[in-house]
């Protein structure tokens, strides 16, 4: 019946809009499919290469003395990554959350300086952070896992500050006022109302920073240095990490070493993936608890 009506300008406008809508839908779908395909390709390629060698031996042994030899694994790198990134997380997460609270909740006198420094740190190439820690620490006390952790913490810190700042600003001011109006102190309001409300966002932000630190290589070359000879769990000595071992093995040119590098790459991706999914699940639980 609509077809019998004369085509008014309004109706022509409508069909035009419908056409534009259809075109845009197709364009956006294609763009999305392209991005997803690229990601799947990368993952599939790494998985295909990595699975050739990833196995119990790889996960439990250290690399062979001579890189051209086959066999061995990245056990020391996995342990080193966990320890170094663990220490870096322990250093940067509390400091980053505290700084974000200072910025958002107290608008303290240091807020401007802190905000500026955060911007500077975010823009700093990670090799510069490594060089900085090298000059200030490594040059005096030698290479160590701890120095690497400090460098990674400096890289994680601004990411955590920004992410936390953003979620704290999303917490409705009404909740803070409601708490203050109950005669709850400002500090308690932040600890017991604001932070729990922002919890899932803060966890997600921290996890992204952890994932970033897991993959960092350049600053570790100047700080933790690497140690392919044996499994070192003492962070005051030079240490290997997954990223360093991937780098060292990939550049040798030996097929045997490159097989190990691919397996290491896949391990790294799996660790980061597990952490991200874990964070998602944690934050989803947070949302479910706060859902209406």
């Amino acid at each position: 019946m609509t077809a019998r009506m004369p085509a008014s300008p309004v109706r022509r406008g409508l069909s035009h809009r419908l056409a534009v809508n259809a075109v845009m839908t197709v364009v956006l779908a294609l763009a999305t499919a392209g991005v997803v395909a690229l990601l799947v390709w990368i993952l599939a390629y790494v998985a295909g290469q990595g699975l050739k060698y990833l196995g119990p031996v790889f996960l439990t042994q250290t690399p062979p003395g001579e890189p051209s030899q086959a066999g061995g694994g990245f056990a020391n790198g996995i342990v080193g990554s966990v320890i170094i990134v663990g220490i870096a997380t322990g250093l940067s997460v509390p400091a980053g959350i505290a700084a974000a609270i200072h910025l958002v909740e107290y608008r303290g006198r240091l807020a401007r300086v802190c905000s500026f420094l955060t911007d500077v740190l975010i823009g700093l190439p990670s090799i510069v952070t490594g060089a900085f820690v090298y000059a200030l620490w490594v040059a005096h006390f030698g290479f160590s896992g701890l120095a690497g952790a400090v460098a990674l913490a400096l890289i994680m810190l601004p990411l955590i500050i920004r992410a936390t700042e953003e979620v704290l600003r999303l917490v409705p001011n009404e909740l803070r006022e409601a708490s203050l109006a109950l005669g709850v102190s400002r500090a308690r309001t932040v600890m017991s109302i604001v932070l729990p409300t922002a919890r899932s966002g803060i966890i997600t932000g921290a996890m992204l920073a952890v994932a970033r630190a897991m993959g960092e290589t350049a600053p570790l070359l100047l700080t933790a240095l690497g140690n392919d000879l044996f499994l070192e769990a003492n962070p005051t000595r030079r240490m290997s990490t997954l990223s360093l071992q991937i780098f060292n093995n990939a550049i040798t040119g030996f097929a045997t070493a490159q097989a190990r590098a691919w397996a290491g790459t896949l391990t790294l991706i799996i660790i980061v993936l597990v952490l991200s999914v874990g964070a998602r699940l944690l934050s989803r639980r947070g949302i479910a608890r706060s859902a209406r």
């Binding site: 009404e174 109006a181 109950l182 709850v184 608890r289």
Partner: protein, 269 residues
Amino acid sequence: MPTPAPPSDTAAPARLDVVNLTASYHGRPAVADVDLAIEPRQVTALIGPSGSGKSTLLRCLNGLHLTVPGASVTGSVLLDDADIYAKDSNPVEIRQRVGMVFQRPTPFPTMSVRDNVLAGLHLGRRLGRGPHDDLAEQALTKAGLWPEVKDRLKAPGGSLSGGQQQRLCIARALAVDPEILLMDEPCSHLDPISTLTIEDLIREIKETYTVVIVTHNMQQAARVADTTAFLTMPAVGEPGRLVEVGPTERIFSTPRQQTTEDYISGKIG
């Protein structure tokens, strides 16, 4: 003034005297030169057009105004003769004595119904952790919410309906045992039935508390308030001022100021 005997179960409600109060944001007064006596065991309504400083004045009565960045006050607010803006007064203690309910219901999203009710007691460290079901029940009963939520104490506070959430906030405010309850348009986001429920509640709690309510709705002021204060500003951008205050019936039947009459007869606002 005759003082009625205080009921046995709670402390005597306090009175408030606003003396020559001006409240500003970033140096710009939002409400100026207010003198107002708020009597105990009465409902005092603040009415007036949007932007006349009703919320600002209300938030001055428990010191919440000063928690806003850039906010300042001059003059004083006497809570039982002690100036809450004196140098030695403790803002946390003032806010425990003068509770507040906001325009939009604000249950704490991470807390259950029961934890919401007890939040002020727990977080104010006046009560250890623990179920304290009796205290929660008392407060919820006062807010008329107990029968509806007694089986849902562990559900998230946000899972209740809007009207229930607002009564949850009233219960939460009453749980810390304040002497005065401030309410900023507590029904403006609620449906008519929930509104009537809350109005009944206000009439009940005024037996034991001093209540100050901001309302946009003149019928509501007429229904619940014993005393009504009318604020308005001479022009947009100028601070609001208190025009007239008196018994609600008189304000609505024979206002003494022309602006009051214009407002309540709908000519302005």
